[in-house]
């Protein structure tokens, strides 16, 4: 009888347990066509327990036997372990607590992530050594603001013109080589620039000649005539060589062409000596600065794009930004003292710094957003500026006369400066490249490093 009574019940109970709270039935609920009650609020274990009790009760009445104390105890323990409180009534206060304010965030997330350690803090200014690494004597260096007498090739060779002679100083080995000397008495080299292949050197002279020399063989390969006065600025763009002179003309030569056809364009925009000349890294624009305080931007077809009269003095220092195209920095002479930043597409001035001193040369860092400027009277210093904040990151002093020329090492870490005090000084202004972009660069950098100790003070001549 007991069996008859309870068997359908237990079966039903089993089915309840089958679809107990562990069944992930939420997805399947809609597919079933029969009613399955909401079980979240249903205490299935409690139901099971009570059913068992009912059965037991009926069984007991049927048998007439008594429940033993141990059974009672077991039941109690079972009830306790199943978290059943038969005589409990679960109550909640009708008026609920006010909800936390809308949009309140517990702020514990920060606590949970606190164990990850502090975020790596970037030092605002890295350490910049403010003294030079080494000094080379450079006797007879012409103290003339309008000339460009120093360049560092990607082969790690520094070319410097001392008076009438061009010297090549290998920064890797420290060997010095005399490349050429002007033949006529009283003439001097007024500009030089390494070709992109770094085996040819363009030289401008005071007798209005542009010469191209093969540095490996120490032989002149070309002589280009077109200027009528000294050639004070040179810039390469592939096979095109642009030269600016005291005759205020910019000549553009295609060095692949025959001598009489080589002059492809003559730009007569400036009124006075052209002393600054730089092709942009992408070869799309040519910037020129002159003693007429003008800054001119030409496109690759030698069409004048902008003629800017912002500087109050000669514009010699020009530098194209390596990380942002169309960004040009230009520095003015004694009466101007400003470094100005230009968008060369629009011709708009983006920024300006009053440096308080003549700006002789500018170099952008290739690794950091920094620009280095070299100055004249009164401190003859180098200043490292952050861009675009234009905060002064470091000031380097050492030269005892104005710092006329500046060139960057092939690895982009060092800078060599030529001052009117007839010295070349090396500065580690830009620091190490964070990731060496090529093995060659790395090698060049290490070579420069090893030679540092051995050539602390070497005279070029």
């Amino acid at each position: 009888m007991a069996d008859n009574q309870c068997s359908p019940l237990t079966q039903r109970e089993n089915s309840v347990r089958l679809f107990g709270p562990k069944t992930p039935g939420r997805a399947g609920r809609e597919k079933l066509d029969r009613f399955i009650p909401q079980r979240n609020g249903l205490d299935a274990e409690h139901g099971m327990f009570q059913l068992g009790q009912e059965n037991q009760g009926s069984a007991a009445s049927g048998d007439g036997s008594q429940t033993t104390p141990s059974k009672e105890e077991y039941k109690k323990l079972l009830a306790a372990s199943l978290n059943i409180h038969e005589q409990a009534r679960v109550l909640a206060f009708k008026h609920k607590a006010p909800a936390p304010p809308e949009g309140h965030d517990s702020g514990l997330a920060s606590l949970y992530s606190a164990n990850l350690g502090a975020a790596p803090s970037r030092k605002q200014f890295r350490h910049v050594p403010t003294t030079q690494e080494r000094i080379l004597d450079a006797p007879d260096l012409v103290d003339d603001y309008y000339l460009n007498l120093l360049d560092w090739s990607s082969n790690n060779v520094i070319a410097v013109a001392l008076g009438a002679t061009v010297y090549l100083w290998n920064a890797g080995t420290g060997s010095v080589e005399e490349l050429c000397t002007c033949k006529n008495e009283g003439d001097y080299v007024s500009s030089l620039q390494w070709a992109p292949d770094s085996s040819h050197l363009a030289i401008g002279t005071s007798d209005a000649k542009v010469q191209i020399w093969d540095a490996g063989r120490a032989k002149q390969v070309r002589e280009l005539c077109g200027h009528t006065n000294r050639v004070s600025a040179l810039s390469w763009n592939g096979s095109t060589l642009s030269s600016g002179g005291r005759d205020s003309v910019i000549c553009n030569w295609d060095v692949r062409k025959r001598k009489d056809e080589a002059l492809v364009a003559t730009l007569r925009t400036h009124d006075q000596e052209v002393c600054g000349l730089k092709w942009s890294p992408n070869g799309q624009q040519l910037a020129s600065g002159g003693n007429d305080n003008m800054l001119c931007i030409f496109d690759a077809n030698f069409q004048l794009q902008h003629k800017i009269a912002a500087h109050q003095a000669a514009v010699k220092a020009l530098a194209w930004c390596p990380f942002q195209s169309n960004l040009l920095a230009s520095g003015g002479g004694t009466a101007d003292r400003h470094i100005r930043f230009w968008n060369t597409l629009t011709g708009a001035q983006l920024n300006a710094i009053d440096t308080g001193s003549q700006v002789c040369a500018l170099q952008w860092s290739r690794h950091e957003r920094e620009i280095l400027s070299s100055h004249g009277y009164s401190k003859n210093q180098l200043v490292l500026w952050k861009y675009p904040t234009l905060a002064k990151a470091a000031e380097m002093t050492g030269h005892t006369a104005r710092v006329l020329h500046m060139a960057q090492s092939p690895d982009g870490a060092s800078v060599v400066t030529a001052g009117a005090d007839e010295t070349l000084r090396f500065w580690r202004a830009f620091g190490e490249p964070t990731t060496a972009s090529s093995k060659g660069e790395q090698k060049a950098a290490s070579a420069a490093g090893t030679s540092a100790s051995m050539l602390r003070s070497v005279s070029i001549r």
Binding site: H85, A88, F93, K94, A99, P100, H104, S106, G107, L111
Partner: protein
């Protein structure tokens, strides 16, 4: 005379015990609400209690709610009807129960009758409560982060014999499925023994 005073201080009456337990509930609930970030931190003020700096809400609505609950709870405690107090933390978005703090109360039967009042120095009780509050504070280290904004509710388990007060309603126990339980310390006034358990939803595997 002095010995008499000391003695009377150490005896725990039913009423006094109810007061202690109710007070503990109030601070524990406040502590949980603060530690679990259920209410903004700026709505809490510091208060010295149990030799600890406790954070107590200054939100008027919440204060009123807690006072009402505490009043009723003291009443039940004095009659020995309160079995459990449960603080349920639910997600405001999904209404899912994420955390369940259970304070189980066991009332000494002898104390309810006319038996002699048990003795226990107040200092000891305070020390025990202090340990629990410290555990609640430390629970932040093992409890999972409450990512959603949460609300809470207090559930009270009472004897079925007791009448349901007007302002109270019956509720379901609001269990957590797949819960992990962590038992915290207990304290006893020798009249009431309070066990604390926190259950939280285990992270979905």
């Amino acid at each position: 005379m002095a010995s008499q005073a000391v003695k009377s201080r150490n005896t725990i009456s039913l009423k006094g015990s109810a007061q202690i337990v109710s007070e503990f509930f109030n601070y524990a609930v406040n502590s949980i609400l603060y530690q679990r970030g259920i209410y903004p931190q700026e709505t809490f003020v510091q208060k010295k209690q149990y030799g600890l700096a406790m954070m107590v809400t200054k939100d008027d609505g919440l204060l009123a709610y807690l006072t009402n609950v505490a009043k009723q709870m003291t009443d039940w405690l004095e009659k020995g009807l309160l079995q459990r107090l449960v603080l349920v933390v639910t997600s405001a978005y999904s209404n899912e129960v994420l955390e369940r703090w259970t304070f189980e109360v066991q009332t000494d039967a002898a104390a309810l009758g006319d038996g002699p009042p048990p003795e226990k120095p107040e200092k000891e009780i305070t020390a025990e409560i202090q340990a629990i509050i410290r555990q609640i504070t430390a629970s932040v280290t093992f409890l999972p982060l409450l990512e959603d904004p949460c609300t809470f509710d207090l559930l009270v388990y009472t004897d079925t014999k007791s009448a349901v007060p007007e302002e109270w309603e019956e509720s379901d126990p609001r269990y957590i499925t797949n819960a992990t339980d962590v038992k915290l310390r207990s304290f006893t006034t020798k009249v009431h023994k309070v066990d604390t358990v926190v259950s939280y939803r285990t992270a979905d595997a």
